[in-house]
Amino acid sequence: MPEFHLLPDAAAVSATGFDILWWYEVAVAIVMTTLIFAGVFFFAIKYRRRSETETPRTIEGSPLLEITWSVIPFVVMLTFFFWGAALYFHNQNPPADAMNIYVVAKQWMWKVQYPNGVREINELHVPVGRAVKLTMASEDVIHSFFVPAFRLKRDVVPGRYNEMWFTATKPGRYHLFCAEYCGTEHSGMIGWVTVMEKKDFENWLVSGGGEGSMASQGQKIFQQLGCSTCHLFDEQGRCPNLKGMYGSRVLLSDGRTVVADEAYIRESILDPNAKIVAGFQKDIMPTFQGQVSEEDILELTEYIKSLAETRGGMFTSEQTGPTTGGARGGSIANAGQGSLDTRGTSMTNQPPRAEANAQAQDASQPAAPKPAAPGGKR
């Protein structure tokens, strides 16, 4: 039986940041509680009733005092707010070079898949010191991916992707819980997050691969579903050419542009007419709702991502990095075949914001001429 600890493990950068804020708030709370308790006790004892006939004088109140004890706590609260919001923003916004791992939740298990095809259930292996982004989907109800040691939690909502990222700092095994009630075996929907040294992780990852990379799985599905009859790569088909599509800006038939990210690909598979690429017909592609599982969609997404990279030359090249960066753009470098780490690892836990942004901007420049290009049919 594990020992009883009063403090939870802290095994990620986010946990350290959280704990500082947390103890600050706990300290404020203790000070305030003490003040109130002391006031109540002091007054209650000092001004206890000494005779049955005594009548204290009325004190009407004091607007100045009221303002004081409204404004001072509020200023303290503002520090809570800004600090908390800043940290939250940071935690919502994965760095551009984060390693991508896919999580599919279903009653009552966590299915994890790595781009190279390694699959796990109720286990997640991540390397130390590397930003990891989870793209999470649910096949049934709302679940919530909760790793106390990282102080992070994110709901996994059916019908959409939710993302979460972290940089683990301490090797070890940590609890993974489902934190949103999801039915009978909710409390059994638990697992372990294993944080490993980089070397160990690479070895583990290489040894684990089974049926080929996610992209190659996706390619199979792409053929099976007959996608390839319309989405041609060499010449113009009835549907947009998917090569180089991922991560680019796409001009839509109604004049809007969207970034072709995971969410867009997912939507286009399930609801093809929602966002039609400019120059193409509606109603040509049927919906694949009900024919593909969330996992299939993720594999197809990986496949489409890999197409983007092969077009840009070698998929290992840094420059083809995320076109618009950030959460949705995601990392494409580690997609496709082979090891995740072929392009070298970023040693810093989090790349400096400025650098990441610069990268994002660089990448978006070449992407700009691309809009609607996939088909070239205007």
Partner: protein, 545 residues
């Protein structure tokens, strides 16, 4: 019980013995009798909810799920939540103390719409019967929040009767609020201006506004859940086009203000108690009154803080977080003012005052942990864990239930004409306070350690704190059982209370105990401000008032 009660009180004609027979109770339009009907019915539901809680705490003494199956446990916490929130906390103070006191406090013969008042009790009972049906048929396992798509598509339990029950009980709550609003506006005695109203009336008025504005939205939301569950058209089912997050928006639009429906009446009671047992007008009367209204309005702007980790837009989350801090300001004002009221007062430690001390302390803890939960980054870790469970129990049980018990002790002589045994009552208040802190204090730590709520079985390292919590719960149960016994006992053997055993100010103390059916022989006329304990004001020329 009620008819026996009539025989025992041999005082002159009062509302209890004016008429007799079960019909005179079930078809009464007297607000005081309806309050007693409510008192009995919510006690039944409180007992039921408490039973579920006891069973849960028993299960949680061991990390393995060994006492119940997971399905049973899930039903237990769901039914605990539904019963306690919709059938105990929401009607508790408004429907009992509020019903009993508001007409008297404003110097009226009854509420504005006595028949509607009776109707609201019947709606409550019908709603309760539906909820009980759901329990008897086999229970519900969705959690009291009915989150979609679990509740609409995946749960195989009796969701429909529970939803219908809550829907109907909602209308009971709306009608109570409507009645109070009109009564406070239109039925005040001559001379009773808004600035002279007791603070309890102010907070009940604010509560009523929330009931009237918020409850219809949850009604429509639950109707949509019912529709979706029956016909599966996809309103909340993402597989066929719906958006489950929309349910959460609509649900919390009511259910966050609903926590103010639960706590505001408690705050009103505490304002009365602190004033009376310090023999002093509450410090900053107008700020306490105004903060009630501020809480009622601001309370509608913060619901999104329940959804920080759902994938709600982070910009919306930021807005909601900021607004949540705003709503904390009026709550803080109240706590400071209560404390300041005792300054240079004449404080006496009667049982109701002990509960008020408990309330101030526990509500402070509940409120401060609420601030932590409103902090975006902190919420991400501790939301949906036992930290949240502890937080809202500190506010709802440590706050609201303490206020309810305090108020019940305070007005018990007025309601029944009898005193409760003071020594026992003080002892019970102490036991409750200790038991409560032992039960829910450890849960804060469990939450920080990362134990998710609604877990039937849990990781072994959480066991020590859970055992502590369960032990505390058994003490808490004793603390609740004692008042139950001596209140019943006092109906027959209690010392006869005079009209005003506490020397309190307020129109309700100027009539007999128990009051006559129409409360006052003559409509009272109010000439001074509320809580004029200090009669020097008048002697010195009455410059105030």
């Amino acid at each position: 019980m009620s008819t026996e009660l009539v025989d025992r009180v041999d005082s002159p004609v009062n509302y209890l013995n004016a008429t007799s027979g079960w019909k005179s109770w079930l078809f009464t339009t007297d607000h005081k009798r309806i309050a007693v009907l409510y008192l009995i019915s919510i006690t039944v539901f409180f007992g039921l909810g408490g039973l579920f809680a006891t069973l849960m705490r028993l299960e949680l003494t061991t990390p393995q799920g060994d006492l119940f199956t997971s399905d049973t446990y899930n039903k237990l916490f769901t039914m605990h939540g539904i019963v306690m929130i919709f059938f105990f906390l929401i009607p508790s103070i408004p429907a009992t103390l509020g019903n009993f006191l508001i007409p008297m406090m404003v110097g009226a013969r009854d509420l504005a719409f006595p028949k509607i008042n009776l109707l609201s009790w019947y709606l409550y009972i019908i709603g309760g019967i539906f909820a009980l049906t759901a329990i008897v048929m086999g229970g519900v396992d969705t959690g009291w929040t009915f989150y979609t798509p679990y509740s609409t598509t995946y749960s195989n339990t009796f969701v429909m009767p529970a939803v219908v029950g809550v829907f109907i009980a909602g209308f009971s709550s709306i009608l109570t609020g409507l009645n109070f609003i009109v009564t406070v506006h239109k039925m005040r005695a001559p001379g009773l201006t808004w600035g002279r109203l007791p603070l309890f009336v102010w907070s009940m008025y604010a509560t009523s506004l929330i009931q009237v504005l918020g409850t219809p939205v949850v009604a429509i939301t639950l109707a949509l859940v019912g529709l979706e569950r029956l016909f599966h058209v996809g309103i909340f089912d993402p597989a066929i086009g719906g958006d489950p997050i929309l349910f959460q928006h609509m649900f919390w639009f009511y259910s966050h203000p609903a926590v103010y429906i639960m706590i505001l009446p408690g705050m009103g009671v505490i304002s009365e108690l602190v004033g009376c047992f310090s023999r002093k007008r509450p410090f900053g009367y107008s700020f306490i009154a105004g903060s009630s209204l501020a809480i009622a309005v601001l309370g509608f702007l913060v619901w999104g803080h329940h959804m920080f980790v759902t994938g709600q837009s982070m910009y919306a989350s930021m807005v909601f977080s900021f607004l949540s801090f705003l709503v904390a300001v009026p709550s803080a004002i109240k706590v400071f003012n209560w404390t300041a009221t005792m300054y240079r007062g004449s404080v006496v430690y009667s049982t109701p005052m002990l509960y008020a001390f408990g309330f101030i302390g526990l509500f402070t803890i509940g409120g401060l942990t609420g601030l932590m939960l409103a902090t975006l980054a902190v919420d991400v870790h501790v939301t949906r864990t036992y930290f949240v469970v502890a937080h809202f129990h500190y506010v709802m049980v440590g706050g609201m239930v303490f206020a309810y018990l305090g108020g019940l002790h305070f007005w018990w002589p007025k309601i029944t004409g009898r005193m409760y045994p003071e020594a026992w009552a003080r002892f019970a208040a102490l036991v409750t306070f200790v038991g409560f802190n032992l039960t829910f204090g450890p849960q804060f730590m469990l939450g920080y350690l990362g134990m998710p709520r609604r877990y039937h079985a849990y990781a072994p390292e959480f066991q020590p704190l859970n055992v502590l919590s369960s032990a505390g719960a058994s003490i808490l149960a004793v603390g609740y059982a004692i008042p139950f016994i001596y209140f019943l006992w006092s109906l027959k053997y209690g010392e006869k209370a005079g009209n005003n055993p506490w020397g309190a100010k307020g129109l309700e103390w100027e009539t007999t105990s128990p009051p006559p059916t129409f409360n006052f022989d003559h409509t009272p006329t109010v000439t001074g401000p509320a809580y004029d304990y200090d009669n020097r004001e008048k002697e010195e020329g009455g410059e105030i008032g």
